[in-house]
Structures are given as structure tokens and as C-alpha cells.
Amino acid sequence: MSEYVLEVQDLKKYFPIKSGLLKRTVGHVRAVDGVSFQVKPGETLGIVGESGCGKSTTGRMIMRLTTPTSGKIILDGKDITHAKGEELRASRRKSQMVFQDPYASLNPRMSVGESIAEPLIVNKVLSKSEAFERAGELLKTVGLRPSDINRYPHEFSGGQRQRIGIARALALNPKLIVADEAVSALDVSIQSQILNLLMDLKHQFNLSYLFISHNLAVVRHISDRVGVMYLGHLVEIGPKHSLYQDPLHPYTQALLSAAPEPRRTKRRERIILQGDVPSPANPPSGCPFHTRCPRVMDVCRETMPKPVQVHPDHWVACHLHG
């Protein structure tokens, strides 16, 4: 058994920008620009960041729904960066994805049972009748009724559909689940039901999660470690308590201070960043955050900072440290 369920090394994804009659490539959108991290068995790694920071593209590359431009993805000890055919299918038995909008990710013309049983049948794990039996059990595991297998996605509420999406992800007994904004579309009362379910399932099946979200409080709640992304880079990563109590990167500090807390007492001083995130098609030189950083120095405009370990297991890529 390998030490990590997932290891990502210097992962990059550049999308070409094509223009003109001949569709020549005139530039690249650097969606993910050199990201490295590991996920241990039974661990939840949260990835936070704002729109366009590359967090979803990272998740999709790990699932191999998008092919990386360069870098390495090692899933359960196997390099799957360029896996094809049977090898790729085998990797999908180990990692599964839960999406934001369960309505868009469930086929409206397939019954819930068919949707959940499909991965089992496609991967020839079980016969058709066994697969349906298992689908019923999985529905029970996620808090629905086994008799629901003959109903269709439109008959369920948003929270129930997300439960179905989770049941389908669990069908193949994966080691890793990539959850991309899995609770973001849900109302808070339903969101807490799904978060509790995800945490129960983790203990029950010894799952690892890569939990991608823009919601800092949700990520703190569910994760063991948290990584912060900005403009295609992982700017800080560390154990959640260390990261939330002592954020080191000025971006993490601004992000945490900007998130409104539902409390009236003891307000933190809010750091308000100026301007918008620069375009990943034309990223700034040096540190990607230097254009908005309240503590920018000359060196930040020139050189990209290297990640340094400041606290145990707590890394930051910023010239202010190290």
C-alpha cells in the first residue's frame, strides 16, 4: 500500500486561445499552473479559492475528465496521468466525483436505480440484478428509501438528488471522492444534512475526499488539511487549525477576513482587497497575487516565491516568509 491515495506533482493545465481564420493558437489560459499536493488515506483535503482560480480544473484533471498539459497524477501508487482505455477505467473505480448540480449530473431519463447501477454494470463488477440490489442498499446508506430506485431525478428535491449523486459515487467502493462544490447549491439546512452524511460515510468506508469549495466555513468544517488556490497556484496549504488560526499568505488572510461570520460580537478587522483577479490568460509576472497584495514588495513583481514550510506541515508560497 502506498503512503498516499493521491499525489499530484507540478500539475499544469493550459487551455489554448485560438483566433483567426486558421484558428492559430495566440496564447494560453493558464488555468492551473504548477500545483503539487498529496492526500493520505482517510484524509480530507479541502481546496478553497475564488472563481477562476483553477480549483475545479484541478479536480477534473484528477478525475482525468481533462488531460493535464504537464505534471503527474499518482492515484493509489499508479501514475494515471496518461492512462487510457482499461487502465483509465480501472482508475475510475478508485476515484469518483460528486458535482455541484446533481440535476445536471443525473440523466433525467434514467431511473435512480439505473444511474446508480450503471457504474457497476459498465465495470462488470456485478450482474444487472445484483447491481440493482446494491443500488437499493446504497440508497439506504445515503438516507433514502431502497424503494426509490424506480423513481426519476425530477421527483426528488435538491438535497435528495445530491444524496443520489453521492450513492452513485460510492457504488464502486472508491478510495477517493472528488467533491466539487458539492453543497454549494443547497440551502443551509439541507447543506448541513449533506455535510453530516459525507462525514459519516468517510468514517464508514475509510474514504479520502478532495473537497473543492469557495465556502471557507464549510471547508474548515469538513477538512483535515486545506489548500488555498489563487490564479492557478496553490499559495498556501496546511492543517486546518494552523491555517485558519494563523493564515500566512496575505491572500489567505484577506479571504478569511472577508468571509462574513454570522455573529455580531468580536469582529475581525476586514481586509478589503482592491480590484479584481487578473486574467489567467495574461497573468502578472512574479507572484500571481502581487497586483492586489497589501504588503507587496519589489521582489514580488520579479520572482515567483517558492513554497516554504513555516509550521509543521504548513506551507506557504510568499516572499514575506523564508
Partner: protein, 321 residues
């Protein structure tokens, strides 16, 4: 005490079709004083957006209809005005900003035209002068290079900038009331912080009252003077913001607060409200929250509780408090 700027009395907005009557807003009372920020908070389908559309008399036709109540604004009942009179109120005395500015802005008109149009229509300001005022207003809301932006189109701006343009357009006639329906929900946290900061600046520097509709209790804590919590088309709790966060009374309000993860505290298991909101086409006869309530008694299922004053200025719709 002075008369409130806005007083909604027993407002009912229903959607009526042959199959069913959906009671989106079912008898609500809300008051807003001049210069006050009132937050209406609740989950999807609680009627908070329909309340704001009712104030603007923009309830989707033909099925949506205001079937009862009064909306007293500055001494007049908006529900008694003719369509023409109401059009004079909209944008001039009451303005509204929406969650998704891209759908609220006209994609084929320049930013400058859209903002100055409001002044031309309501105040009869000549076009040139109106454009200058638009530039001034854009600067006030923190849009950089305002002189160039007025010639640009909505698609050329980022989400945060579009929301600033919406705010500029809403505020240019200095309305007495601004209704903001989830104005920061579609924005990233750092941009949300910028827009909330701008709304606070506006409140300090103008006398406009704000109704802020949101599902985010964090935004409520940050902005509100007074909070109205809605559930299933009704007001379940109404109180000043400090009391709401220190002593929430209604079981629904308490459950909502317990089900949010925190940025600072560890919670092993989040409280989760079982079940889902009852259908607005078929409400139970008793308390609408009873089925999901942790402290419900048999009597709760029988009789609808009244909204009562449990402490000075603290209204709660629950018989067990």
C-alpha cells in the same frame, strides 16, 4: 415615533392556476424606517424575493397576483396606484438591485446610457448633464476609469463591476428605499466584501433605507439594523439584529444558526433540520415549521401560532417561546 417609511400590512401574494394556489407570501407585516437597513432572511421558496417583487409591483403575471394587504410607502398605498403612477415610483423613489446584474442590465446599451436614462426619465435632466452625473455616480461607487466605462457595455465588465454599475443606476435618483435582492450571492468573497463595504458607505452618506434580501446570516450580521426571518411565506421572527444573534427565539432561527459551520469554532456534527420545507401549494393547518421542529408539541400541528411580541420589539411566531 415617526411614521415608518414603508409599512407592509398583511400582504398576500399568490400564484393561482387551475391546478393549485401557491401561497408564496401569506400575510406578512414588515416595517422599514427611514435610513434603516432591514434584512429579510430565509431559504429558497420562503417568499423573500416575492415580497420584494410585490413592493415593486413586479410580480410575474398572469399567474402571480397580490390578493390582499397594503404596502404603505411614504403615506401612499402602492397597491392603489395606477400602472403609470407606479412607473414613476420605480427607479425614482424605490430602486432595486438584483442578484445577477448581467440579466438586469441591457446588453446592447452602453453603461452611460443606462445610468443616465434613469435621470432623464424621472428628473427630466438633459442628456449631456445626465451623463456627467452618471460619471460622478460611477466614481462614487468606486468604478475606476469612469469616463471610459460609460462608453462600454455590460459584457466588458467583471461581475463585481457590473454590480457597482447596478448600484450606481439604483442610487442616481437618490431613492428613499433601495431593495437589494441577494446582491452579493453571485460574487466571490473578496468582491462581496467590496460591495458590502460600498453599501455601508452609501448608508453613511445618503439617507436611503435598504431592504436587503439574503440567505446568508453572515451578510445579515454584517449589515442589518433589523432582521425579519421568513419561513414558508410567513414572518416567523422579527427583531433588531443584535438581539437576533444573541437571543434567537424561534426554533427555526435557532436551527438555522446551528446548521452553519463556523470559521473559528469546531463543531463535530452540524445540527441539521430534518425534512424539507412544506409545499406552498398545500400548507399544513398548524404551524408550518412543526414537522421539522425539535420541540413541537401536538398542539403545534393543530393551530397556527400568531406572531406575538415576546419582549419589547421582538416578534416571534411560536406558542412555545
Amino acid at each position: 415615533m415617526a411614521e415608518p417609511l414603508l409599512a407592509i400590512r398583511d400582504l398576500k401574494t399568490y400564484f393561482v392556476s387551475k391546478q393549485a394556489t401557491v401561497k408564496a407570501v401569506d400575510g406578512i407585516d414588515i416595517e422599514v424606517d427611514r435610513g434603516q437597513v432591514v434584512c429579510i432572511v430565509g431559504e429558497s421558496g420562503c417568499g423573500k424575493s416575492m415580497t420584494s417583487l410585490s413592493i415593486m409591483r413586479l410580480v410575474p403575471r398572469p399567474y402571480g397576483k397580490i390578493v390582499g394587504g397594503q404596502i404603505l410607502f411614504d403615506g401612499r398605498d402602492l397597491l392603489q396606484l395606477s400602472d403609470r403612477e407606479m412607473a414613476d415610483v420605480r427607479g425614482s423613489e424605490i430602486a432595486m438591485i438584483f442578484q445577477e446584474p448581467m440579466t438586469a442590465l441591457n446588453p446592447v446599451l452602453s453603461i452611460g446610457t443606462q445610468i443616465s436614462e434613469v435621470l432623464v426619465r424621472h428628473r427630466g435632466v438633459p442628456k449631456r448633464e445626465a451623463l456627467d452625473r452618471a460619471i460622478e455616480m460611477l466614481k462614487f461607487v468606486g468604478v475606476p476609469r469612469a469616463e471610459q466605462i460609460v462608453r462600454e457595455y455590460p459584457h466588458q465588465l467583471s461581475g463585481g463591476m457590473r454590480q457597482r454599475v447596478m448600484i450606481a443606476m439604483a442610487m442616481i435618483c437618490e431613492p428613499k428605499l433601495l431593495i437589494a435582492d441577494e446582491p452579493t450571492t453571485a460574487l466571490d468573497v473578496t468582491i462581496q466584501a467590496q460591495v458590502l463595504d460600498l453599501m455601508k458607505k452609501m448608508r453613511r452618506e445618503t439617507s436611503t433605507a435598504i431592504i436587503l434580501i439574503t440567505h446568508d446570516l453572515g451578510v445579515v450580521a454584517d449589515m442589518a439594523d433589523h432582521v425579519v426571518v421568513m419561513y414558508a411565506g410567513q414572518v416567523v421572527e422579527s427583531v433588531d439584529a443584535d438581539t437576533l444573534f444573541s437571543e434567537p427565539k424561534h426554533p427555526y432561527t435557532r436551527a438555522l444558526m446551528d446548521s452553519i459551520p463556523s470559521l473559528e469554532e469546531d463543531k463535530d456534527v452540524l445540527y441539521s433540520i430534518p425534512g424539507t420545507v412544506p409545499s406552498a401549494a398545500n400548507f399544513p393547518k398548524g404551524c408550518r415549521f412543526a414537522e421539522r421542529c425539535p420541540i413541537a408539541k401536538p398542539s403545534c400541528f393543530e393551530k397556527m401560532p400568531e406572531l406575538r411580541e415576546v419582549a419589547p420589539g421582538h416578534l416571534v411566531r411560536c406558542d412555545l417561546v
